[in-house]
């Protein structure tokens, strides 16, 4: 870290701690979920995977509920950012953020100015908000209250759990890849929460322009 460089606090401690627990719970959930779907092992091992799935599901629920209650203002800001659309989002999706050109053709194309989250991240955010809530609700219904669910609702819950599970697992792969690719942001989320001002101005100019303020030292 250069001493002359200016830094923005992008991910405060509350967000980082929520994200740590999310990583620790969702990745085992995704792996055990895939195992439960494909059933490659015998009954005893499948039972163990089911238990891990349930325990990590409970951890994920507690994490999500705690963040919803404690960090409610940040949840609201996240919803506002995720559901704010403009013509820039159409332009961004038309070139897919310039990533295919960068990775496949080694070519840099101009990308429309983005806010804190680019259009792809916004789509991911919407999927996490809606899909995550549905996964938690249906997971609890299927595990804790299957005897209470009316006829047919268990099957609906199972289908919803499966569909949104697949969507989030596939999105997770892209999220992990691009998360590590944006290494400064990766370090910010997992270590200190800060990203260089200049980099933020390049990656998210609208965020820096509209939402960032200099703090009194």
């Amino acid at each position: 870290m250069s001493k002359n460089q200016s830094w923005i606090l992008k991910h405060p401690w509350s967000v980082r701690s929520f994200h740590y627990l999310l990583v620790l719970s969702f990745i085992p959930l995704a792996i055990t979920g895939l195992v439960l779907y494909f059933k490659p092992f015998d009954q005893l091992e499948m039972n163990l995977y089911m238990r891990i799935h349930v325990v990590t599901g409970v951890i994920l629920t507690l994490d999500a509920v705690a963040y919803f209650v404690i960090g409610f203002n940040r949840v609201i800001a996240f919803v506002k950012r995720s559901f704010s659309f403009s013509v820039n989002d159409i332009k961004w999706f038309s070139i897919l953020g310039g990533y295919p050109q960068k990775f496949l053709l080694r070519k840099k194309v101009s990308v429309p100015p983005m806010g804190k989250y680019n259009s792809g991240q916004k789509l991911f955010g919407i999927c996490v908000l809606i899909g995550g809530t549905i996964l938690i609700a249906t997971g609890w219904g299927l595990w804790a209250f299957p005897h209470t669910l009316p006829h047919g609702m268990g099957a609906v819950f199972g289908t919803l759990h499966l569909v949104f599970g697949w969507i989030l697992v596939l999105f997770l792969l892209i999220h992990i890849f691009l998360g590590i690719y944006m290494f400064d942001d990766f370090k910010a989320m997992f270590l200190h929460g800060k990203i260089p001002y200049e980099e933020a101005r390049g990656m998210a100019p609208l965020w820096v322009e509209k939402e960032i303020m200099k703090i009194e030292m």
Binding site: W7, I8, L149, I212, M213
Partner: protein, 105 residues
């Protein structure tokens, strides 16, 4: 006090009070509406079971004979034919002779 190692942060007033109330209301409504729907479906299903239980209790209340050993027909069967409960004839005719495990069927 520990010195801050960053010079910029997000403006806390990025979400205005009006937006905060609006978005909170929408989020809570989206969470509450399916919950109400699921709850009403569960209550509806349970009301069917409750009606069934109520019917069984009503039949029980209205019945003249409420216990099997008070059933005159059964008492007559034993006195005229089977002798007494667990007698040889009773064992032969009324009891299950073999158990078939049907858990895998």
């Amino acid at each position: 006090m520990k010195e801050k190692t960053y010079q910029y942060e997000e403006n806390p007033s990025y979400v205005s009070r009006r937006e905060f109330i609006t978005i909170s209301g929408i989020v809570i409504a989206i969470l509450a509406i399916p919950s109400i729907w699921v709850r009403s479906a569960v209550v509806k299903r349970n009301s069917y079971i409750r009606a069934r239980i109520k019917g069984l209790y009503r039949d029980d209340t209205e019945s003249k004979v409420r216990v099997s050993h008070g059933n005159g027909g059964v008492a007559k069967l034993y006195s005229d034919f089977a002798g007494h409960p667990l007698s040889e004839v009773s064992e032969e005719l009324f009891h299950t002779q073999s158990y078939i495990n049907r858990t895998r069927i």
